[in-house]
């Protein structure tokens, strides 16, 4: 008899514990633990990340038929006066820069057709053209204390923080063209960050400012729980 009760109560309590867990993000107690593990996963991701390895390339004929574009503003963010737009580059640098789009376009461009990986699970192939971030970093002169880069936008305060190594990867670009055409407003015009080795939410669109920092910047989604490193 007692044996039966023991088994039944064991099964019932296990089932209750499992059911109550559903739809639960960990609550006040467990959420920070899960966040701590997310930082551990960032560390592992950083170990796996290679600053040399280039992403698999595709033929332009393999481009996806659709390519979703997200922003957090209610409407697609656009500039009132595109000619007045400048990209500020500052923080822990020798020479802060204030670049017009033409100046950014005057760097040697990089074009590649790569697969985009979204944290949601979708992927899409597209061609991107832009200025390697590294070239801009060389011109501005990054100070040795800098370990991170913060990318700000005019999309309702959207921003993302990167580790310097990922930012300086040769395939990290400041993109101004999508599928061989001028970047459209829904894809982040006039200028967006692009890198095939990061998840989509890391690639800040509608860029306004690049800041080199010693402290780790967060990010719009990262601050809400998405993995900070976001490398693929």
């Amino acid at each position: 008899m007692s044996r039966k009760v023991g088994r039944r109560s064991f099964i019932l309590s296990a089932a209750a514990a499992l059911l109550s867990a559903c739809g639960w993000d960990g609550g006040r107690t467990l959420r920070p633990v899960l966040g701590g593990f997310s930082r551990f996963n960032d560390w592992v991701s950083q170990l796996v990340f290679s600053s040399e390895r280039s992403a698999p390339k595709y033929d332009p004929s393999q481009r996806s038929r659709s390519f979703p574009a997200y922003h957090i503003s209610a409407m697609t963010p656009t500039l009132e006066d595109p000619a007045a737009w400048r990209l500020e580059v500052g923080g822990l640098v020798r020479t802060p820069l204030n670049l017009a789009l033409d100046e950014i376009r005057s760097f040697e461009p990089l074009t590649y057709t790569v697969k985009h990986h979204c944290v949601e699970g979708w992927s899409a192939i597209a061609t991107w053209t832009g200025t390697p971030f590294r070239a801009v970093a060389e011109r501005t002169g990054v100070l040795p204390e800098a370990r991170y880069v913060r990318f700000d936008s005019f999309d309702a305060g959207y921003y993302s923080g990167w580790d310097l190594e990922s930012a300086l990867h040769p395939e990290t670009i400041l993109a101004y063209a999508f599928n061989s055409q001028e970047l459209r407003p829904d894809h982040g015009a006039p200028l967006r960050l692009y890198a095939p080795h990061k998840l989509g939410y890391k690639m800040t669109k509608y860029l306004t400012r690049i800041t080199f920092t010693a402290e780790r910047p967060g990010g719009y989604w990262e601050d809400q729980g998405y993995p900070w490193f976001g490398g693929v």
Partner: protein
């Protein structure tokens, strides 16, 4: 009734129940993640054949509340899952227990005999051993399935850094697809496993908890 005999080492019992809880929670957090893009294939298609194409799984089946919550659960649970999986494999290898569990070609014939027994073509139960040949097949496959879910998971996590692994599974969307298939194989295995425990040998449930077995199918292996 005979006095109970030792059946399962504590490592087997701990990893067994931990695997059950971990897989349950990983499936639930995985279904939360699936919700964000409930199909397989590049944007714009074509899409893979999928019974759950664009299916929204009910809230009670999901863990995490939203995408980031699901991801954080999933990417936390994967560490104990891998760790305990390795502990179990190390135990199997070092104890020699693998000889009683791993399905080998010579088990094919006895497995067929077991099928005949279950289909009532054969009247007497074939020699059981610690695990009969069908059990060996099932327990070997479930270990392989665990490995497949870990490897397809890594392939989805690092499709650029580990592009060779992702390529091995047919690409990022295919890795997601196989990872998702693993879910239904785990679910089906668990259902059949539990039904057979209660139908064929309820004493084995107690053995998996206490480690000691007092039932009908006493192993004729040392």
């Amino acid at each position: 009734m005979d006095k109970p005999v030792g059946r399962h080492h504590w490592i087997v019992r701990v990893t067994h129940w931990a695997a059950f809880i971990l897989i349950f929670a990983m499936v639930a957090s995985g279904l939360q993640i699936y919700r964000a893009y409930p199909r397989f294939g590049e944007r714009g298609g074509p899409y893979f054949a999928n019974f759950f194409h664009n299916v929204a799984f009910p809230e009670w089946s999901r863990l995490g509340g939203w995408l980031a919550g699901g991801i954080n659960w999933h990417f936390f649970l994967m560490w104990p899952f891998v760790g305990l999986g390795l502990l179990y494999l190390a135990y199997l290898a070092l104890s020699g227990e693998w000889k009683k569990l791993v399905f080998r070609p010579r088990d094919a014939r006895p497995a067929f005999e077991m099928v005949k027994y279950y289909l009532r073509i054969r009247k007497d139960h074939p020699p059981q051993g610690k695990h009969n040949a069908l059990q060996k097949a099932a327990y070997t496959l479930i270990v392989l399935l665990g490995m497949l879910s870990v490897l397809t998971g890594i392939a989805m996590w690092k499709p650029v850094q580990l592009a060779w692994l992702t390529g091995l599974f047919g690409g990022f969307q295919a890795a997601r697809y196989w990872h998702f298939w693993a879910v239904w194989l785990f679910v089906m295995f668990t259902l059949v496993h539990v039904v057979l425990v209660f139908l064929v040998d309820p004493a084995s449930l107690r053995a998996m908890i206490t480690g000691r077995y007092r039932g009908r199918y006493v192993s004729d292996e040392p």
